[in-house]
């Protein structure tokens, strides 16, 4: 998948680019408005990550540009502002998602993959890992032919793992994915242990292997 990252902060750009590359994306980047605009008009991308506070222009204008040229790219807005107005405006203009800094890379990954699925890139609606099948349209999970009943949170958790295969995902990242801003309500990460325990059990009971590995102190890895 071809991704364009439009981000002016150099360290951040470097880190995200590196991460995306490791996840198997083809990545290009631009650090200010005019360069970004050129790239958009010259090339096609599958997913565009736009930081709306880039210099020399407003990221929202880039979204407009994309829509006007009938681009099929999926657009994710990256913003430091957490401004409701920007969010509404951006989504109204045609962006597909909105993520606020600071975010976990695992979260960004999950959003990109989710966007790709929604746009039916590369047939992402039917995921399968070995014996596990997921239909993201119907939210059905099957191990071989046995359906697995997952709660909403368990399903989200599972999808999160699937999107971040073979990566260590911190407890914090999981908490933020599942509960958003309410994540800081939790005194400890008991909730997460509980959800993971349930998810694991349900999958194993249905005949799957144990893919969820506990990484001491930090979190988990969905090892395939």
């Amino acid at each position: 998948m071809k991704v364009l990252l439009i981000e002016d902060e150099p360290e951040l750009r470097k880190t995200i680019k590196q991460f995306l590359y490791e996840e198997g994306y083809v990545v290009e980047s631009a650090s200010e408005f005019h360069k970004a605009s050129e790239k958009i008009s010259a090339y096609d991308y599958d997913v565009i990550l736009v930081d709306i506070t880039i210099p020399n222009g407003n990221g929202l204008q880039l979204i407009q540009q994309l829509k006007e040229s009938h681009s099929k790219a999926g657009i994710i807005i990256i913003s430091a502002k957490n401004s409701l107005d920007d969010k509404i405006q951006g989504l109204d203009l045609g962006a597909d998602d909105y993520i606020t800094k600071p975010f976990h890379l695992a979260e960004l990954n999950a959003r990109i993959k989710s966007l790709a699925r929604r746009r039916h890139f590369e047939g992402y609606t039917q995921l399968h890992i070995n014996e596990i099948f997921i239909n993201t349209d119907t939210r059905e999970v099957k191990v071989n032919n046995t359906p697995v009943e997952l709660t909403a949170k368990e399903y989200e958790l599972f999808l999160f793992f699937m999107s971040n295969k073979n990566r260590v995902v911190s407890k914090n990242a999981i908490a933020e994915h599942l509960w958003g801003d309410d994540a800081d309500m939790m005194d400890d990460f008991n909730f997460i242990y509980v959800h993971i325990r349930h998810l694991r059990k349900k999958l194993i009971d249905a005949g799957a292997q144990d893919y969820i590995q506990t990484i001491y102190g930090i979190g988990y890895k969905f090892k395939v």
Binding site: N82, P102, H104, R167
Partner: protein
């Protein structure tokens, strides 16, 4: 003591003795004048008598007047004329009357005669007393008039000053007013007002800069923090990390998350106080509460908290919807977070346009003094609490003038917010 009264006091203390002095002085001057007049008159009378008597032959004492006082009599030796005051008993009025007496001498046919002339002073004295009284009364009346005029004029003159005082009294840096008092027409007050106006302008701009700085600083912090977060994401991927290293990384992630939460809260407060949330809508507090309670259901259940609600009315209020959300959410999350580890209680009630939320928790009241002040944490919990939750609640209540109070009763910590009656 008020300026006017002090002024009048000084005037009184200084003027009254002066008035007394003036009155006495004029009394004595007048008395002297009268006395001189009387003496001159007595002398003229003596000369007159002298003329008349020169044609007569005086043998013995003869009375010169029907009052049987003034007389002429033979003496052996003359002396210098002398004037003196004396009192004569008046049998008719049964009292003593004052007289001025001239005792002088004349010669006739080589005989010496003493002539004593009496002049009644009673009328003079009465006139004198009358004048004295009138002068006194007049001066006192002038004095009192002066006091009265001073009071009236003073009120008028100082009005500008009192208006300025009133403005200052109501001045609040939070309300961000600049003061522009009206021209008073009195130079000193106009100068004062101008100085105050300049001062408040400067305060306002300094304060605005300070708040913008706070908001900008919090905003800028987000980028390096985002970088750290992502670097950690990458670092934890390293294979062969020892348990010790993993623990450190976990602690770093936890601490970083606290930093992020803290910064977000600070940014929110800065934005609230910078009036970034000016739009208002009619919001239904009950709906918001229900929505939040449902979202927090898992956390409430996990801590086995017993939740009871008593919504006796539907509370509508006029505020920014996002702030309404934050307000209610902070109250509820506090009630959950600072509750007893298990089996606590939360009670939420809506009644009389007031939202009350109480929870069990620590068994003693929270110190009220710094309760809503930023960063003053009341407990030593290890939660993600930033100490800003209540400060945020207070900030929001401040802009809408909602009254927020805390009480500790029946072993429950109770927070109450009195919303403004919805203005239609």
């Amino acid at each position: 003591m008020k300026l006017i009264y002090k002024t009048l006091l000084y005037y009184t203390l200084l003027l009254l003795p002066l008035i007394a002095l003036a009155t006495l002085t004029s009394y004595y001057i007048l008395k002297n004048e009268l006395q001189e007049n009387t003496d001159e008159w007595l002398m003229r009378k003596k000369l007159n008598y002298q003329k008349i008597l020169s044609t007569k032959n005086i043998q013995n004492k003869i009375f010169l007047d029907i009052d049987s006082l003034s007389y002429v009599t033979k003496v052996s030796l003359p002396a210098k004329p002398n004037y003196k005051d004396t009192l004569i008993y008046n049998a008719y009025e049964q009292e003593y009357s004052p007289y001025r007496v001239l005792t002088d001498y004349l010669t006739q046919n080589n005989q010496y005669f003493q002539i004593v002339i009496f002049q009644p002073l009673i009328e003079q004295e009465e006139i004198l007393e009358s004048v004295l009284l009138n002068t006194g009364i007049l001066l006192m009346a002038l004095f009192l008039t002066f006091i009265a005029i001073t009071q009236i004029v003073s009120k008028k003159l100082w009005k500008g000053f009192y208006d300025t005082l009133q403005i200052l009294h109501q001045y609040s840096i939070q309300k961000e007013q600049t003061v522009q008092p009206q021209k008073t027409g009195i130079q000193e007050f106009d100068i004062l007002n101008e100085a105050i106006s300049q001062m408040t302008k400067k305060i306002h701009s300094d304060y605005t800069l300070l708040k913008e700085f706070t908001e900008n600083a919090a905003h800028e912090l987000q980028t390096p923090v985002a970088i750290l977060k992502n670097k950690l994401d990458i670092l934890i991927q390293s294979p062969n990390l020892t348990e010790n290293e993993l623990t450190i990384l976990s602690d770093m992630e936890y601490t970083l998350q606290k930093l992020i939460t803290l910064n977000k809260a600070l940014l929110l407060i800065a934005k609230i106080e910078n009036h970034q949330f000016t739009e208002k809508e009619t919001v239904c507090i009950n709906t918001i509460l229900d929505k939040l309670l449902s979202a927090y259901q898992p956390f409430i259940e996990e801590k086995k908290i017993h939740l009871s609600k008593s919504f006796e009315e539907v509370l509508y209020t006029h505020m920014h919807p996002h702030l309404a959300d934050i307000l209610c959410s902070n109250l509820i999350t506090n009630a959950i977070r600072h509750n007893t580890p298990k089996n606590g209680t939360i009670h939420i009630s809506v009644k009389n346009h007031t939202l009350t939320i109480s929870n069990t928790g620590i068994n003693k009241p929270l110190p009220e003094k710094n309760l809503f002040v930023r960063f003053k944490k009341q407990t030593t919990t290890t939660t993600h609490s930033t100490g800003l939750g209540l400060a945020i609640i207070k900030s929001i209540c401040n802009i809408y003038s909602f009254n927020v109070t805390y009480t500790f009763c029946n072993n429950m910590h109770q927070f109450q917010i009195q919303f403004d009656l919805l203005k239609n």
